[in-house]
């Protein structure tokens, strides 16, 4: 979910310029919040309750997005060093250390402007245990109110009524009263419903955009390009008119690409020959994002579907925010995030992607930082291989710690993986 299109070196379409402007305006509002009196809440992408915050006029700040943007700007090496100097172990999630390092060196955000101190720390997804510890650390710094909503894991592969009610109760009994107290405003359900209706419209267009990769050639890269597309909806803009307009504009551009039979943009321009269609599981590496992307693009590999673009909401299997059930829909959203799904559900999802997007194989980028993602990935690899009969690949890197990106090793594995697909295509009788 980067906002720096220059870093990625991709051509700026009007949708991208629009996104950049939206983000710039958002960060300027944040920078001036101490003077304007606008309230802010630090919260995380998975399970974020942006519509509820917006209905109280609270500005969201997303620390893990700040961390990944810091990585793309080459800042995380120093930020992590600062955090390690403070005693955070080398094994701690590098998003956390980057955030702590940023905080300790002026809390300057991705647009170069200072971020406000939070009026609330809102954790509405507990599938990641580190999130809890992260906010405990921030609480020590900011001494502001904290709301932690416990979100049950979908261990049985579904959301039951009691699970839903459990989260609804926490929102009603804990979160809403806190938001009322912080802002001095009454909870306005009609306003929330309006936001949720706008969310659903933007979600429809996002799903259309991501599913456009079913075309041959795919007009988009659903991983490296996908992280730009999910930016607005996964961060501060879900439920806004801006988001609706952004996704409409993006959709029009992609419709045009399909009409012209164009391939996706890459760091070196349009990909003209689609040689491999790949499904990717796991987050990208952010410190060497462009280099990593080029390793795919140089081989003519296009990512046609990815699970990472579902961390802030799995919309392509039908979920939409439903304004007629405002709190229930937020509760379902929290529990439906990708990393809150159990392993069989993740296997089902990957297998369906490989089939529906006519992929040549699927690849796991296992990151050192994130156990929510990485635990069980080898099991997923074998299961999906067995189900779809397509070759699986496995590479390892990290989110924002540049020490864990070994370009030679990753390139070696990726090239081997793509050549393996090629050999499989050529088939038997050729090998000896």
């Amino acid at each position: 979910m980067p906002n720096s299109t220059e870093k990625a070196g991709i051509q700026k379409d009007s949708s991208q310029l629009r996104q950049k402007k939206m983000l710039a305006e958002h960060f300027t509002r944040l920078a001036h919040a101490p003077e304007t009196g606008e309230k802010s809440a630090y919260t995380f992408v998975p399970g974020n309750m942006t519509e509820l915050l917006l209905s109280f006029d609270i500005l969201p700040v997303l620390p893990e997005i700040n961390a990944l943007q810091s990585a793309m700007r080459g800042k995380t090496k120093d930020y992590i060093a600062v955090a390690e100097k403070l005693g955070h172990s080398e094994d701690v999630c590098t998003y956390v250390k980057s955030d702590v390092g940023m905080l300790k060196t002026g809390n300057v955000g991705p647009t170069g402007e200072r971020l406000p101190e939070p009026d609330l720390l809102l954790l509405s997804y507990t599938g990641c245990f580190t999130f809890m510890k992260w906010f405990e650390i921030l609480r020590e710094e900011y001494h502001c109110p904290v709301v932690m909503i416990h979100v049950p894991y979908q261990g049985e592969g579904q959301i039951t009524d009691s699970m839903r009610q459990y989260v609804v109760d926490q929102i009603r009994q804990k979160l809403i009263p806190t938001l009322e107290k912080i802002t001095g405003k009454r909870y306005d359900e009609d306003r929330l419903k309006e936001c949720l209706a706008r969310s659903a419209r933007a979600e429809d267009d996002l799903v259309w955009v991501l599913q456009s990769a079913k075309n041959r050639p795919s007009p988009i890269d659903a991983y490296f390009g996908g992280v730009y597309y999910i930016g607005p909806i996964f961060s501060s803009f879900r439920g806004t008119e801006d988001a609706i307009e952004y996704y409409q504009a993006l959709r029009s551009e992609i419709e045009e690409s399909i009409r012209l039979g164009k391939g996706p943009m890459t760091p070196d321009g349009e990909l003209t020959e689609e040689r491999y269609r790949i499904v990717v599981e796991g987050p990208p590496n952010w410190t060497n994002f462009r280099e990593f992307w080029k390793m795919f693009a140089d081989e003519g590999a296009v990512v046609v579907a990815s699970t990472y673009t579902k961390v802030g909401g799995v919309y392509d299997f039908g979920f939409r925010h439903d304004p007629s059930r405002p709190i229930e829909t937020l509760a379902e959203y929290c529990m439906g995030c990708y990393t809150n799904l159990n392993l069989p559900s993740r296997v089902d999802m990957l297998a369906s992607y490989v089939r529906d997007y006519r992929a040549d194989g699927f690849l796991i980028n296992s990151v050192k930082s994130c156990n929510s993602f990485s635990a069980g990935q080898l099991h997923i690899l074998r299961e999906v291989e067995n189900r779809v009969g397509k070759p699986g690949g496995f590479i390892e890197s990290d989110l924002v710690d540049p020490r864990y990106f070994s370009a030679a090793n990753i390139k070696n594995r990726l090239e081997s993986y793509f050549q393996m697909i090629e050999q499989k295509r050529l088939g038997g009788g050729e090998a000896a």
Binding site: L378, R382, E385, P391, G392, F394, E396, Y404, S406, A408, N409, N412, R413, E415, S416, Q419, M420, Q423, K424, G428, G429, E430, A431, A432
Partner: protein, 437 residues
């Protein structure tokens, strides 16, 4: 005669395999040149072509009906004489380079000493290549280096004016030129006649075979490169393959019912699964660091002041292997000293270290899909008997004793063989495409 070549640029050595048009392996070459990749490729190709001509001589002797024992004797003697000629040619090149260096850097004093050393080395050459003589390495750097150092030490003791470290420095500079020059080693054509002339008795059939082979024109019609640094190989991009695919195919060519391949090289360990055609279906590699790879054993050998080849046999003497968990190459020395300070025996520590390396490989194997029958072990570490023992034991414990473990004496050439097979396959595909057009 047309041939295909596969070249594998490893982190320690560069290997080449030459295949004839119909598929058999004609020649192999290996070099430890640490110069740039272009030079390493030239040297290794030149070595493999010499080896190819030797196999052609063998075919000629077969054709001439020479009986097997006699043929083996003739080829072995010709080989020794040839290597000696090659060694002498390289010595001459070394002398030229040393003389040139001395004239440039040390105009006086050292030249007589250096000439004396080289003259003795020249005289010793016949003994080095005599029947039954053993050599720890056939690389010119190692062979000439060990003799030069010994003689230089004696010379510096004899002549106080000549410092040993100066002599060593001179050698280190001059050897680079020699070992990186394919012309210094020469070709089959350059040394074959001299080698023939040195044979203990003239043999007409051998003479005829060598002459006929010298007339054969060897023409390269396809090449594929692999290994680390393959991006910088002097081949077009389409002729470069991943070493994982090459090792898979090479292992399949050596042992056709191989399903799992483990390759432990200098800086990486690869666990590979292949199908019945030798096509890779899954693989896992060590990530980010070279813990538990060949280089780790290299550090241990250095720490213990031993040769790499001595580690395995020493570890085999162990009665109570020490349990070691860390295979971090960087901490290898510290781990070793810690164990020694605790009073552990060297052989017990070494046995523990070998087991630790193989345990790490077992984890990669498990991640790649396990060990299936048959299982082929390749790479430099496959030559280490203690590593092989540990592997056999752990495979049997984890996957049962029915797994057949293959280790070829030529396992170091597995990647190059796979690359050569890819080259041959490409040519076949190109000619089929040309025919169908």
């Amino acid at each position: 005669m047309n041939y295909h070549v596969g070249i594998d640029l490893g982190s320690t050595t560069t290997k080449a395999v030459i295949l004839g048009e119909t598929g058999p392996i004609l020649g192999r070459g290996i070099t430890n040149s640490r110069s740039n990749y272009d030079v390493a490729c030239q040297i290794v190709l030149s070595e493999a072509l010499i080896n190819t001509r030797f196999s052609l001589v063998e075919s000629e002797l077969d054709r001439a009906g020479v009986e097997d024992t006699r043929k083996a004797q003739l080829l072995a003697e010709l080989g020794r004489k040839f290597r000696m000629q090659q060694y002498l040619a390289q010595l001459r090149a070394l002398e030229e380079d040393l003389t040139e260096l001395l004239q440039r850097i040390h105009p006086s004093g050292f030249l007589p000493s250096v000439q004396k050393i080289l003259s003795r080395m020249h005289d010793e050459a016949a003994g080095l290549f005599a029947e039954g003589a053993t050599r720890k390495s056939d690389f010119f750097r190692d062979l000439a280096g060990s003799r030069y150092l010994k003689l230089a030490e004696a010379e510096s003791l004899e002549n106080k004016e000549v410092r040993f470290d100066y002599l060593v420095g001179l050698f280190d500079k001059a050897i680079l030129e020699v070992e990186n020059s394919p012309s210094a080693a020469g070709t089959f054509e350059a040394h074959a006649e001299a080698a023939l002339a040195q044979m203990s008795e003239a043999d007409e059939s051998l003479q005829g075979a060598v002459e006929r082979v010298m007339d054969i024109e060897l023409k390269q019609v396809g090449s594929v490169g692999t290994g680390y640094g393959r991006q910088r190989l002097p081949f077009p991009e389409g002729q470069i393959r991943s070493e994982i695919l090459c090792h898979g195919l090479g292992a399949h060519a050596m042992f056709s019912t191989t399903r799992t391949v483990l390759d432990i090289g200098g800086q990486d360990t690869k666990a590979i699964q292949v199908d019945e055609q030798g096509i890779v279906t899954s693989f896992q590699m060590n990530d980010r660091c070279a813990a538990g790879c060949g280089r780790y054993l290299g550090y241990i050998a250095d720490e213990m002041n031993l040769g790499l080849h001595e580690l395995g046999p020493l570890a085999r003497d162990s009665r109570r292997p020490v349990r070691i968990n860390s295979t971090c190459t960087v901490f290898a020395g510290a781990e070793l000293r810690e164990r020694l300070s605790l009073g552990e025996k060297r052989e017990d520590i070494l046995a523990g270290l070998h087991r630790a390396i193989i345990l790490r490989a077992m984890s990669l194997l498990a991640r790649s899909g396990g060990v299936k029958n048959e299982f082929t072990f390749t790479g430099g570490v496959a030559k280490n008997p203690a590593a092989v023992d540990a592997l056999k034991k752990l495979v049997s414990e984890n996957y049962g004793c029915d797994i057949k473990i293959n280790i070829s004496p030529d396992s170091i050439y597995t990647g190059a063989l796979g690359a050569a097979l890819f080259a041959s396959r490409e040519s076949r595909r190109a000619s089929q495409a040309a025919t169908s057009n």
